[in-house]
């Protein structure tokens, strides 16, 4: 495997209300991120749209169903379809989450939390290595948001992530909003989390909105809040120039609104670069 080159740019997720803007290449972004599973189909309009978008933009594939933490191993049918899609669009990279979604019988279609134990670490590393070998490329692993912590935990999430990177050679998709959400829910310092990761392996950053409350929920249905912008600015000083993307999956606003948020990310990233220089 050859590693994943850094790509410094600012992108958005491909969502149905904005198809026309991306198909014609009119959206002023540097790359587009797609939910892999939405395009792991036999044919028809979804692939037609994706081909048209790919003609104008680099595309990052972001998955939700790899289930890298599943004790039942990887799903070969899923990986085969993922590989076919990757061959078709030649993505910047393929990413998924540190989580699990299925048992041998059922699929939650939700990103469920892992216990951070030595056993789970072995499982994640075995599954991720198998996936990377099958795909013939390293992947990006995204830190999750979570709403509970298992009493079985033996290490911090960032320690778990760092060890997965070390053992599998994977890269990181750093979701700054997820760090903020989990920090609120579990009472750790977000900067401690950042400090515990091998930040040189970060290739992409996610930004999103969340719903505040006794338990903060990662909803992706509103603007990025000030606390997350501050954490993003801090992260960019540590990470250096990488791809940044705004994730919006619900209550999707006009494209112009998202471009305003993306401009904020550009400004903060530029300030961080000046600060480091």
């Amino acid at each position: 495997m050859t590693g994943i080159a850094r790509f410094h740019g600012f992108g958005l997720g491909l969502r149905r209300p904005h198809y026309d803007d991306f198909i014609c290449g009119g959206a002023p972004v540097d790359f587009v991120e797609v939910i892999s599973e939405n395009y792991m189909v036999e044919g028809g309009k979804p692939l037609s749209v994706l081909d048209a978008v790919r003609a104008h933009y680099p595309v990052a594939m972001h998955g939700v169903s790899l289930s890298v933490g599943s004790a039942h191993g990887t799903d070969r049918d899923y990986l085969a379809r993922l590989k076919v899609l990757a061959a078709r669009i030649e993505p910047l990279w393929i990413s998924d989450h540190l989580c699990w979604t299925r048992t041998s019988a059922h699929n939650s279609h939700d990103l469920l939390p892992l216990p951070y134990t030595a056993e789970a670490l072995d499982v994640v590393c075995a599954n991720l290595s198998a996936a990377q070998d099958f795909l013939g490329r390293e992947m990006l692993l995204e830190n999750p948001s979570s709403y509970l912590a298992f009493p079985e935990n033996e290490m911090a999430e960032w320690e778990f992530m760092a060890e997965v990177c070390r053992r599998t050679g994977c890269f990181l998709l750093l979701d700054v909003n997820n760090i903020h959400v989990s920090a609120q829910n579990h009472g750790f310092r977000a900067l401690d989390y950042l400090g515990g990761l091998p930040l040189e392996r970060v290739r992409q950053i996610h930004l999103a909105g969340h719903a505040p409350g006794e338990i903060v929920i990662d909803t992706h249905d509103r603007e990025v809040c000030d606390d997350v912008w501050r954490l993003y600015a801090a992260a960019m000083k540590l990470v250096g120039p990488v791809a940044t993307m705004i994730e919006r999956d619900d209550a999707i606003p006009p494209l112009a609104d998202l471009l305003i948020e993306l401009a904020t990310a550009r400004d903060l990233a530029a300030s961080a670069e000046r600060h480091v220089a």
């Binding site: 599973e37 036999e42 799903d75 049918d77 699929n107 279609h109 939390p113 216990p115 009493p151």
Partner: protein, 255 residues
Amino acid sequence: MSLVELQQEFMDQVLTDGRTLPCGWDARMAAGLDIYRNAYRSTMVEALRETFPKTALWAGDHAFSQAAAHHVITHPPCGWTLDLVGEGFTETLAGLFANDPDVADLAWLEWAMHLAFTARDCVALDAAGFAAATSSYGEADWAALRLAFLPSLFSREIGSDCIALWRALADEEPPASARSLEEPAACLVWREGLIPVFRLTETLEARGLGVMITGGSFGDLCVALQAAVPGDDVAKTAGTMLGKWLADGHILKVV
């Protein structure tokens, strides 16, 4: 607890209400589990609503939500793709709305359109290609003729005019009641280019199509038509069906 046991327990907690928590999982864990359970339910119900928008409109929001929740409980998803969350939902609705078969007919139409939407891209055999493939056929060859059909083609016998209902709902002018069909009929769904389309037809054509889709020969088709069509007209009726399937782009190849 091993990881396998922990994940099985967690999944059971997500899929089931009111399950006792394992030892050591406290109130904070319970609160977190509630969030995952609610997220799972709402994701599934919303996916069904997005897949069956006109059925939801026709059944009514509350009734549809209850039916969707019932389906999610009785048919928890197994596969990795949310696209198949609607598998079996037509049958669930047929059971729940036994006195309103138009609900299940409409749901079937939406599900078939959903499947056709992402079916494999194929080039249909046209009349010239068919003529070339069968140019040397004798009588015995015709009887043995078998066809492969496009994967985006679906058919079902229906009791209500779900096509008229679908169109009325698309225009946001739902009728007061669904129109029952005077004669038994069938609905065909397929894809033209990137767009799923449909037409109403006689049950005879749907049954004939069913014979050939499942691997029957043109001779088998003629035998199947004999009970409903006068003897002299069987071959002509079968030929007309074949011509229609060619014209509508249903046939992939002669096999």
